[in-house]
Symmetry: none
């Protein structure tokens, strides 16, 4: 009944990518300063919107962080799964490929997000839950599958694959945290690629069947 039948929007950019822009801004700041010290005002400024606009898309700071986690993490894990899925070479080679892939993740924002999740898990259990569901479980299954494959194919000695997952992953965790936390402030130098090469070596030797000890994947 209103005469203004032309629903002309009052704002220029009604872009659907607002949320993505906000998430990107938030990611950068959370990574740099952590959760508590990141101000929503800064996130808004970085995304060129007003503070209030953040609340149009996210109920509160925590939900915004959750979105950051989801967006940051999912594509990476997807990629890892895809890359592994169709692999048909030897398992040692597969494991090396996998480590290489993870090495790449260390340069992605995922490493920074991980740091924040670990730090804030106590304060925001929901966050830990999301991470567990979106990343941990999938990654865990993935790595565990690779180990099991190696055992099945007699390429690895018989071990409990579940126990191996942390061993495979932990150097990556260490390197990721190192990069984002201590490296800038501590004089110790860590050659990431050398460490990862050593990791692959030690791991594959450690997994090799005694009778294959002289062989390297």
């Amino acid at each position: 009944m209103t005469p203004t039948s032309t629903p002309r929007p009052r704002w220029q950019r009604r872009s659907e990518d607002r949320p993505a822009e906000l998430v990107a801004a938030a990611l950068a700041l959370f990574a740099e300063r952590g959760f508590a010290r990141t101000r929503l005002a800064d996130v808004a400024a970085r995304a060129h919107v007003s503070k209030a606009t953040v609340y149009v898309y996210f109920a509160n700071k925590e939900r915004l962080f959750e979105a950051v986690v989801r967006e940051t993490v999912t594509p990476n894990v997807d990629r890892a799964e895809a890359l592994i899925r169709g692999y048909d070479g030897s398992t040692p080679a597969l494991l090396r490929t996998l480590l290489l892939l993870f090495d790449g993740l260390l340069d992605s924002p995922m490493a920074a997000v991980l740091k924040v999740v670990l730090a804030e898990a106590g304060n925001f259990p929901e966050l830990a839950r999301v991470w567990g569901e979106l990343v941990l479980q999938r990654m865990f299954a993935l790595v565990q599958g690779v180990i099991a494959r190696g055992i099945e194919r007699k390429e690895f000695r018989v071990v409990n694959p579940a126990e191996m997952v942390p061993l495979v992953m932990s150097p990556l965790l260490l390197l990721g945290l190192w990069k984002h936390s201590l490296a800038p402030h501590v004089p110790v130098v860590l050659d990431r690629h050398a460490v990862l090469a050593a990791h692959a070596d030690v791991l594959l030797r450690g997994l090799a069947r005694p009778e294959d000890a002289h062989v390297q994947g």
Copy 2:
């Protein structure tokens, strides 16, 4: 007959113990809630003093945290160094002993402090520096020394000891963070001692000289 006959002093003078009590209170709270969400008021309450008393001993929240780091960390590292110093068995056995010792540290407050340091390193570089100096460098030297000893004594194959240090330590980092961050919130179960046992196995096999591949320390 006067009922208000107990002229109990309003406060006690305990300058010897106060700092330690404050550090203990702060440690508990920092570990539980992180740096930002810990209120000095709570630290004070937990130590049974007034807020202002905290400032008698520590210039500000950050210095209090530094004190927590120092006090928490130093004795543990001292112990590790002492335990290793006089060891004269085989290096594989020594490495196992060392891992056992570190395993014990996972139950100490040090693991919790580590989490907070990693989280706040960006905001308080001084803290990262302190940690680097007090823990990292000493621990690094310690582990590196053990590896070098093994190589010298022909118990390990020839590797770059510096690159091995992160590999030796990283599962402990993972388990420590797991315990204090994710474990309570994620359904995945991790059998710490099984993982560490697997770690020792894989590590020692991975370090073994090819011709000794059948032997286990």
Copy 3:
């Protein structure tokens, strides 16, 4: 019929007027209690806003004070300059007019602000700078110009105009401080207008050319 039928908004949006209202509130309190003893909470209350609103408009207490100085002082100096500008009578008469104008300022908040600026100059150099720029230099030039005019027109004997400025102004300073500082607490009585009349007399006689000594402006 519902008794709670008045959905009166919790606050109003009045960004045009707020700063002026805050400055007015702050002026009153600074004048009464000085800078240090004025609480932002009281300023806010007096302006009927919350504490935080003060910070929407002023970065901190000092900037608020600066705004008070600017707003209080500028119009008065403008007025003085305007009044003098088009004057075309004799210089002695002009000087008397000027003193009358300044006499009026003693009743304005400017006198109170002056007191606070003098008191806080040491702590907030920026404030002294602002005052110097906004008031001192302009007033100085103004008075100096009047003296120079009198000399040029042979109405005053030849003196250094710059040295006369403090002499012209100082009784006003004294009377202003008297009013706002000591008068309420000290039994000595000072008849302001009599003093100013005497000031004009002495000053003009003191400036008169010897041969005109019997004449009075």
Copy 4:
């Protein structure tokens, strides 16, 4: 009955000049930072005693300030009175001498104390009272007496001596405040001695009897 019958003092310096040392320390700090921003802790440190010791001698901060005012001011006023008392030259010469004396006071701590008293009069009326009693009334009487003397001796024209006092004193007030408040922060330069010379000139000409207008004291 106690065997320690020798009442040996437990503290080294039981000096009677403790209060004076405290007053001196307080004076320096009050002058520099004003009342509110001077911390008792700093006063104590400057006097090489503990904070609590201040309270042995002064009931609170305000009383300490009162002591500062008394000690600082009394000797100066005494000196002024003494110097004037026996004077037997001409009154114009006496007035010039008096101004010279006051000029000297501008370099004494009295000028700084004056600034603080003016600033804090509103908050601490007692302070204004003390100043009024100790300084104002005596100075007032003193100057008024000189003016009256000049009139009596036909050296000055007939004026109301009470009204002249502020005129005589105000340039000194201005110069004192200038020195301690604005001078350090404002680019305007004020030649103190030139101003005072001009003051004496204008004042004496302004007070001269018309028939003596050509004469200068």
